[in-house]
Symmetry: C2
Subunit: 126 residues, 2 copies
Amino acid sequence: MTSTHQNVSAPPPAERKAYTPLTAAIDVEACFSLLEGRWKLVILFHLFGGKVLRFSDLEKCITGISQKMLAQQLRRLEADGIVERTVHSQVPPRVDYRMTPWGQQLCPALDSLLKWAELREQYSIQ
Amino acid sequence: MTSTHQNVSAPPPAERKAYTPLTAAIDVEACFSLLEGRWKLVILFHLFGGKVLRFSDLEKCITGISQKMLAQQLRRLEADGIVERTVHSQVPPRVDYRMTPWGQQLCPALDSLLKWAELREQYSIQ
DNA sequence: CAGTATCCTTAAAGATACTG
DNA sequence: CAGTATCTTTAAGGATACTG
């Protein structure tokens, strides 16, 4: 045991990348472009927490989405490593979707955006 | 003093809003729409940390931006309460921009997105 | 200096129909 | 069930010129 009170198996030094205004903006924009499709966020919030849903489940719980858009957004989320797609070879076909481990980590990041939005009221009390 | 070990001047209970997948998605999308203009993020990252810049300063430090786009994005950021605009009545005109207190709070939220992006490598080591 | 005003281009999304 | 394929609409952004 070390002499500190810290967790013995503390994570590595957590060296952060260095950013300029430009590179920070570029990297945040990259995140946005991963997430900003018309239906991506609803899809993600339905999958957060380890949920596994079929194409038809998503179709049912997201009102207003078309098959074209659902498929398109899922393809992009999959290509970007945020969502995982599993095809079960059977008839009729069964395909389901879940978050990747990295995708799941999005949750706290989006939550801090929500916290920021909630903060607005406190600053707008005139 | 209370019988707990908590900080005496602890912040209010911090009751969080309750979200469904749909409302969470809507609220995050609202954040995105505040931030997703073509040049907004570069502008913000140049203003973070209390910096105060003139229109022409921003024009100089953001390569490629046109006056039209700079003015447009600034107008929206101002209308959304993220940036503050001050007009000094003098000739030639002098206008400067800074973050609002609420806008400044964006910094940690965007930082957690950057952290998420940095995480990607750790998960993609195959 | 700090902007507007116009015109043009182009991607994203919607509607709809079809299929292994 | 789980998708594609087409066609059309629309809004964001770029280029360029002008102004109090």
